[in-house]
């Protein structure tokens, strides 16, 4: 098994930490992601990552932990999108695009300033593309706690949320408020985007949130099994990405490894492709 599990893999502290963190984040992202895809909010999920980038870049500039920045940015973005979301569809897309452009410009400024005025290096790559290996160990308990919290909240709101996504009228008749539920879910999704950004970088975090969920929904019929399949796929892609990235240091003589985020995203993409292909084949018959 040495060709797959390089010597010292499981003894290395950063790897063990990455496996633990990757497990919980991938699990949270898969559970929330299924609802994001079912509710047709993939674009919102993607848009939140741009704003999370701004938060992460700002945090890097002021020397705060990135997790705080990612979370603040994404939650503030969720609020802004709720405001924009009340407009007509075509104008909404343009307005969202322009607001996101402004936020992206701001990330550029923050990243530029932190690269030129502070002594830290590689900020741009760390914030945008992330690395599970370089998450500081002080942040792990907080990240685990937030992930667990998101899962608990999802367990509570799952049924009313599903009802209000499928038929808002019946939900309203039963005394639920689809608007409040929608806003609450957007906040949960924003928190999850913040966690994903910590794991695989802010502009790649869409993959972890949407990918496993969309793949699972291609091959399963019930929501319960979709959540289980998405969790398994997400955790498997993350763990395999960690192992492959660790191995890749030995692939070339220059010992220049490939980033974890790259492997995780590519594995998720392949999984999605396979599931979509299986679906296409089974529906053709």
């Amino acid at each position: 098994m040495h060709w797959l599990f390089a010597p010292g893999l499981l003894a290395s502290a950063p790897v063990r930490q990455a496996l633990l963190l990757g497990f919980l984040i991938a699990l949270t992202a898969a559970v929330v992601g299924v609802f994001v895809v079912v509710r047709g909010q993939s674009f919102a999920g993607h848009a939140l990552t741009d704003v999370a980038t701004t938060g992460g870049a700002g945090a890097a500039l002021y020397g705060l932990t990135p997790l705080v920045g990612f979370l603040t940015g994404a939650v503030a973005g969720a609020g802004a999108m709720e405001l924009i979301g009340r407009e007509r569809a075509q104008r909404r897309d343009v307005a969202t695009g322009v607001v996101l452009g402004g936020a992206t410009g701001l990330s550029g400024l923050f990243l530029y300033l932190s690269a030129t005025t502070t002594s830290s290096t590689g900020v741009t790559q760390r914030v945008l593309f992330g690395s599970l290996f370089s998450v500081s160990s002080a942040m792990v308990p907080a990240a685990l706690l937030i992930g667990a919290l998101v899962l608990v909240v999802m367990a509570i709101v799952a049924r009313p949320l599903l009802l209000s996504s499928v038929s808002p009228d019946i939900a309203t008749a039963r005394g639920l408020s689809p608007l409040t539920l929608g806003l609450a879910f957007l906040l949960v999704a924003a928190t999850t985007v913040g966690l994903c950004a910590l794991a695989i970088g802010s502009i790649l975090s869409t993959a972890l949130l949407i990918g496993p969920a969309a793949a699972a929904l291609k091959v399963t019929r019930s929501l319960r099994s979709a959540i289980i399949v998405a969790s398994v796929l997400g955790v498997a892609a993350t763990w395999a990405g960690i192992v492959l990235s660790y191995d890749s240091y030995t692939w070339r003589s220059s010992h220049q490894g490939l980033p974890v985020s790259f492997f995780v995203v590519v594995l998720i993409l392949l999984t999605y492709g396979l599931c979509a292909w299986r679906r296409a084949r089974s529906t053709r018959v």
Binding site: D93, V98, G105, T121, Q125, T206, Q256, L258, F262, L269
Partner: protein, 260 residues
């Protein structure tokens, strides 16, 4: 501010702004905001790969942007599949990240690819930028009527014998060409803003298409000039100012509409 290397920045910047304003007008009209967002992101991997193997960035950008445009046209023909497009997009960005991790380039290069760098424009780029820019503008203006017809009423366009699929491919390829010349100036992540902000603002000011088209180009030029001047004066990245000024122009236009 107008001497030596800065001259190229002004010249290239002006061309890029006019082209982005004109082509962006059709992007907004045709509701192609999503491809216009996706193509520059895909081009990022091309630029990163080009710098890894030591080819000109423009070539890397051009090849990947064109490939991205064709892929989107192919995916879009069957169904409107946002999830698939978003995942392919993020996948390409990840490939770009992998290229960057392999090259010995250090932070400023990565940064200028993503957020633009006015000083990154060399003398030898002026001619290709001018030719590609002028060509894109001419083609779009020549195709203006069929493009409008097929985006506003696709059924009538098809009934009149227009090949809407082919037209869409041509249009996406033009967006790819504009991306190629603009990304070195304003960066991958902000190309989209320059292409969407000024046309959206122009449409708020006037309802007449021909006036809006000229106004869109004018606003784009003003935004980019102001951005270059501010970037020079404050030594901050040009992309930041492009993003902020585009948003500002759009905000002003909305305010104007609301006042009336």
């Amino acid at each position: 501010m107008f001497s030596g290397f800065m001259i190229h920045a002004w010249e290239v910047g002006t061309i890029v702004a006019i082209v982005a304003g004109v082509v962006g007008f059709f992007v907004v009209l045709r509701d192609s905001a999503f491809p216009a967002h996706a193509i520059p992101n895909g081009a990022f991997a091309g630029a990163a790969g080009a710098s890894l193997i030591g080819v000109s960035t423009l070539i890397g950008l051009g090849v990947f942007a064109a490939a991205g445009a064709l892929a989107i046209a192919a995916l879009g023909r069957r169904t409107r599949n946002d999830v698939a497009t978003a995942l392919v997009l993020v996948g390409i960005l990840a490939v770009g990240a992998a290229f960057l991790s392999q090259s010995t380039s250090y932070e400023p290069e990565v940064f200028s690819l993503l957020f633009g760098q006015i000083l990154g424009v060399g003398t030898n780029q002026l001619l290709p930028v001018a030719v590609v820019g002028l060509g894109s503008c001419l083609i779009v203006i020549a195709l203006a009527r069929p493009l409008l017809l097929s985006s506003l009423t696709p059924d009538i366009a098809r009934a009149r014998g227009l090949r809407t699929d082919g037209l869409n491919v041509v249009f996406l390829l033009i967006v790819a060409a504009v991306t190629t010349i603009a990304v070195p100036v304003v960066g991958t992540l902000l190309m989209f803003t320059l292409m969407i902000g000024p046309p959206a603002a122009a449409r708020g000011f006037t309802k007449r298409p021909s006036v809006a088209l000229s106004l869109s180009a004018l606003i784009a030029v003003v935004v980019l000039w102001a951005a270059i001047a501010s970037a020079y004066a404050m030594n901050w990245p040009v992309g930041f100012f492009v993003g902020i000024f585009s948003a500002l122009a759009y905000g002003l236009s909305r305010l104007w509409q609301w006042r009336r």
